[in-house]
């Protein structure tokens, strides 16, 4: 049977069908629904740009909490996570194979944990009573006299979310960058030093990064996507949507709040479209920033 299978469609059909059904079509539906009022029971009613206008002008929660939170979270977790991934990959490339493999597995392991199940660790570590590990330690050492309500206090929730997200930020992009550095030709460095390269910084900027630029770009996209993908942690940590005083509310939680708690699917779709546009713009900007350093 395989003797006559030459047409590209034999190869492409299964992937394309699934790609269209579960990526293209949903994005198109989200776009379409975002112009409607849709409560999941009645047929969607066309409302034009009303959802977007309300989102930008009337939705105080969105403007005062969700958007600033998302920006703060993304602009810390994305760049810091990316920088950490590069730094650790760079360091790992300079130690022998066995310890490198062990460290790489450890650093990658958070990417393999499931969000919901892992929430238990954080809730125990940061638990608000004195049985929480962090509280017990701080009490024990005399830094505080009263346990701190880490997970339900608006002052702390966002910071803990950032720490937890960074904890899990060494993902596929990190592995790609590590492999990228390992594949650089050693003689490039030796030649560059003969040509007058003087220190480690020059080495990183003139040799290492340019030699692995494709992996740097791949890592950047993965960092952006990963940052928005973990958006649920605020809800998982505090155990509530909306999060206490909206302190940990991100775009993803806003979508869930309107879509599955209030059943305003049209409005939630408008938020989804905004989220996709934000991710796309950040990736584009990152691309241009990294792309110019040729």
């Amino acid at each position: 049977m395989t003797r006559r299978m030459n047409h590209p469609l034999w190869f492409l059909m299964p992937y394309i069908l699934l790609f269209v059904a579960f990526i293209i079509v949903p994005v198109a539906i989200a776009f379409g629904l975002s112009f409607t009022y849709f409560n999941t029971v009645e047929t969607p009613e066309w409302v034009g740009l009303r959802n977007y206008i309300e989102l930008l002008t009337r939705d105080e929660v969105f403007m005062q909490h969700v958007l600033p939170n998302t920006i703060k979270f993304a602009f810390i977790v994305g760049p810091v996570g990316y920088f950490l991934s590069f730094l650790l990959a760079w360091v790992l490339a300079q130690i022998p194979h066995l310890p490198r493999t062990i460290f790489a597995i450890i650093l990658y392991s958070p990417s393999m944990t499931a969000g919901i199940a892992m929430a238990v660790v954080w809730t125990v570590l940061f638990s608000g009573d004195h049985a929480g590990y962090l509280n017990a330690m701080l009490l024990n050492w005399g830094f505080i006299s009263e346990p701190i309500q880490f997970l339900i206090s608006p002052d702390h929730l966002m910071n803990i979310m950032i720490v937890v997200a960074l904890w899990g930020s060494m993902g596929v992009g990190f592995l790609a960058m590590l492999a990228g550095i390992l594949n650089i030709d050693q003689s490039l460095y030796e030649a560059a030093y003969i040509d007058g390269l003087r220190n480690r910084w020059q080495e990183i900027f003139y040799i290492t990064i340019p030699s692995m630029k494709p992996q740097m770009l791949f890592g950047a996209v993965m960092a952006v996507v990963g940052t928005f993908q973990v958006g649920m942690i605020g809800v998982q940590l505090s155990g509530a949507n909306p999060t206490p005083q909206y302190a940990g509310q991100l775009l993803v939680n806003h979508i869930e709040d309107f879509g599955f708690i209030r059943y305003l699917m049209g409005y939630a779709s408008a938020v989804s479209v905004v989220l996709l546009i934000i991710i796309y713009s950040i990736s584009k900007v990152t691309f241009n920033l990294l792309g110019e350093k040729e």
Binding site: M5, P14, S109, T113, A117, V120, I194, P214, M222, S272
Partner: protein
């Protein structure tokens, strides 16, 4: 001439000059590993150690009690634990097999076959690297409902099979295969599908293994599917059951004791984590090999 002091990539053995790298790595690795060590210890703690104050990190008298409690909780909810496990295994099995097959087929076409729109297709896929599934959970629900896949294994597996990252990685890997190899097979009369099965699959095994791992991680850990696309309790998967335990929503169970629940939840986390880490350790060489070709050019 001064001795070469620059970067030494992939050194063969340990040298004192590498100490500074270990000084950076050790605290980072400790920070990352602690929560995981915590889960492992917590999962085996008996009740009195879970309640101990001040809390202790390491388990002293390990017990399997938390795991058996987890199984009992499932029985109380009306669905046996084995059923959740079975569902998870079936969905992950379908998902991984399809992801491996469909992705490598498409990757071969995008890399080596000639047809119109090939470049455009690859660009769309690269654009889709930026796609965040969580943003379209509502429209995905609508698609799945329209296709009649609610309450089925396929409803859980199919949405996660087309992974733009997977296709991207395998395609970049297939690019490395020399065209001469394929040409000479064609001269011997092989069809494209035969070339794919006999030449490409063996050569791209590392990339295919990587897609398998990524697909498994995605599907095994998936919580959105069982929450939104499945109503029938007996069709739900492990992550969903663990979530109900985490939220204390087991019917007929007065979940009055959050501390005792911790041990059970740690056991649950461990069950989710162990298959992933074993697969990764087993295949990590192949993953690294694939990642070497992962760049966006």
């Amino acid at each position: 001439m001064a001795k070469f002091t620059g970067m030494k990539i992939n050194p063969k053995r340990f040298h004192r000059s590498q100490l500074k790298f270990f000084i950076i790595l050790l605290p980072m690795a400790a920070f990352v590993a602690l929560p995981i060590l915590f889960i492992i210890n917590h999962a085996f703690k008996p009740l009195n150690e879970l309640f101990a104050y001040p809390p202790r990190f390491f388990v002293r008298q390990p017990t399997l009690r938390n795991f058996s409690d987890l199984v009992d909780l499932a029985a109380q909810s009306g669905v046996p634990f084995s059923r959740y496990l079975f569902n998870s295994l079936v969905v992950s099995g379908i998902g991984v097999v399809c992801a491996i097959l469909f992705t490598s087929l498409a990757a071969y076409a995008l890399s080596k076959l000639k047809f119109r729109g090939k470049k455009l297709l690859f660009e769309i896929n690269t654009l889709a690297l930026m796609f965040v599934p969580i943003a379209v959970m509502i429209p995905r629900y609508i698609t799945i409902a329209r296709l009649g896949l609610i309450d089925s294994y396929f409803g859980l597996a199919l949405p996660l099979i087309a992974m733009p990252v997977g296709l991207f990685l395998v395609k970049q890997f297939v690019d490395q295969t020399p065209d001469e190899l394929i040409e000479s097979a064609k001269i011997d009369g092989a069809s494209e599908m035969q070339i794919f099965l006999r030449i490409i699959v063996p050569i791209t095994a590392p990339a295919i293994a990587t897609v398998g791992i990524l697909a498994f991680q995605l599907i095994w850990n998936d919580i959105i599917g069982p929450n939104l696309y499945v109503d029938d309790e007996s069709m739900k998967t492990l992550p969903f059951f663990f979530q109900t335990v985490a939220q204390g929503n087991i019917p007929g169970q007065q979940h009055a004791n959050p501390v005792a629940g911790q041990g059970v939840l740690a056991a649950a986390s461990l069950i989710m984590f162990v298959p992933n880490i074993i697969m990764f350790i087993w295949l990590q060489n192949k993953v690294m090999n694939t990642m070497a070709h992962s760049g966006i050019k």
